[in-house]
Symmetry: C2
Subunit: 329 residues, 2 copies
């Protein structure tokens, strides 16, 4: 159907090499043949096939963008920014949704068979085993939102979760609260563990402060609401302020508090995490820890590009600083 290099060559009256070279920047072609080739190509609507050329060049300019989080609104921002960054670097994102009922196909193998040049894992909830299996694929891989390690197996970029936890604890303490709590996401998520650690460290450093901890079953509105309902119904009195491990958790918790007739922040204070777009909506106006998403994502793509041409660079981990955004909760 579609015109091939050969067709163009015939029409232009030149060799196939000549055509190939006109479409390869930096190749040696005279202006004259280039012009002839271009004319023929236009006439036929010719487009070089990326995959045919990838066979010899060994580059598809495809990047596997892997995630298991398609529920949390922050991830729409994540996908938006990743796809833009990838595209403007001249690459294309092959999106892989791991939250799939298709566990029979190994995502790593799948990406290998598509010859992606690189892989970006965008998730803080993925099992480390899976991440390692990506790393072992021989394909340059970057793990965004992964856990920091001084000797990482994979390049990792993330916000400094511990510091963010500390920030949140401090914010609650600054309000004069003496009973504060951490309401995390799934206990298995490394991001939750680290935020909790930072939170606890600050809280325990000041005497006379009681802290408690609980976990929602997922990073979701429903889970946050449920957990807060449980806390409300429990024997223990509520804390004066909660640091929720995610903005949607916060909104869920606030919904439960509201239903119980409790006012935020008068009765209970809430600090969220992420600063998703919705957090700034005036009728939500969530106080939250801002994660420098754009910076993290930009750096992730940049790092992956480095990995793509440089070879055998040792994996490194980078941490970015969050900051508190005070709003009304």
């Amino acid at each position: 159907m579609t015109a091939t290099l050969k067709d163009v060559a015939v029409l232009a009256g030149v060799s196939r090499s000549a055509v190939s070279r006109t479409f390869t920047t930096g190749a040696s072609v005279s202006d004259q043949t280039r012009r002839k080739v271009m004319e023929a190509a236009d006439a036929l609507g010719y487009r070089p096939s990326v995959f045919a050329s990838s066979l010899t060049t060994r580059r598809t300019r495809l990047i596997g963008l892997v995630s298991d989080n398609f529920r949390n609104p922050i991830f729409l921002e994540v996908f938006d920014q990743f796809t833009r960054a990838i595209q403007s670097a001249g690459y294309r994102p092959l999106l892989v949704n791991l939250g799939d009922a298709e566990p029979n196909t190994d995502p790593v193998e799948m990406l290998r068979s598509y010859s992606v040049d690189g892989i970006i894992i965008a998730s803080s909830t993925l099992s480390p085993d899976l991440v390692v299996s990506f790393a072992k694929s021989q394909i340059p891989t970057v793990h965004t939102f992964g856990r920091y390690s001084s000797a990482p197996k994979v390049d990792t970029l993330a916000v400094n979760n511990e510091h963010c936890g500390a920030l949140a604890a401090q914010a609650l303490l600054d309000r004069g609260y003496t009973r504060i709590a951490f309401l995390g996401g799934p206990a298995a998520a490394t991001s939750t563990q680290d935020r909790q650690a930072g939170f606890a460290a600050v809280a325990q450093a000041v005497s006379g402060v009681e802290t408690s901890v609980s976990h929602a079953s997922a990073y979701s509105f429903a889970a946050g609401r449920e957990e807060m309902q449980r806390l409300i119904g429990a024997d223990q009195p509520l804390a004066q302020g909660y640091f929720c491990g995610d903005d949607v958790l916060s909104v869920g918790a606030m919904s439960a508090l509201q239903d119980a007739g409790l006012k935020v922040p008068n009765d209970v204070g809430i600090v969220g995490f992420n600063d998703m777009a919705m957090a700034s909506w005036q009728n939500i106006s969530l106080t939250t820890v801002h994660q420098p998403l754009e910076e993290i994502i930009g750096a992730s793509v940049e790092r992956l590009l480095e990995l793509l041409d440089g070879q055998d660079i040792a994996p490194q981990a980078r941490l970015f600083e969050g900051r508190l955004v005070e709003r009304s909760t």
Copy 2:
């Protein structure tokens, strides 16, 4: 680097064809050679390259998933469902973010050069010209959320926007309101035009009902809030009930009303559109027109698959029925 078919053939002591055939379902290979091949393949970690084979099979099992909407939370649900549906059909989504500052590369040409088997356009705000240029690409294309036409140029699947508008109008009338209004998205969006038409038709059919119309500049919280603020500040009195062309618009409008000291639904009623996940959050609890997203997306992918093997099927347009979800606004 990675093992190729030839390597496997050598190790297994068979011809390259034999290896190829073991990895092609339905090809004729004896159990014995299949076993030998599999062993060798496992030993070498061999994976057939999709692109090498696509050269002869002319199938990449890649589907271009094109959108320009990476801001509206409903689209996270859209991407989630599309990627799952595409994946479970054995295809892979190549995501194209049109909201890109990279207008130099024609997305159609780009998808051609990646030899995608098919294209899904997921947008109700794309210019018809662009949609047509996709259709002319010779690549099977489906336009989800596009405008219905009795003689479509591209396969189109969407909710029946007119009917949804009618539903919303009826819901407001049923409350006894006599001054109702349509607060649409961008006036240029076909989805808004159709919802408005259906809304107006119902409203005008009953005498003594005043209707008015205005448009937000985008399908976004900020735009909805701004437009509602404008309406509040205008000379005209507010309507008793508003049908907003999108849930995020509704939430924005509600935020403006709340700031003005107006209660929803006591002072002003709101009906949204889409029934995004957030609409059911208890502290939002938006009355809205539910769009059968899963059904539409499932049908879109199914239709594209039909287009992929069947040839020269005439484009058709399909409409799906929305339904009103009464909640608290």
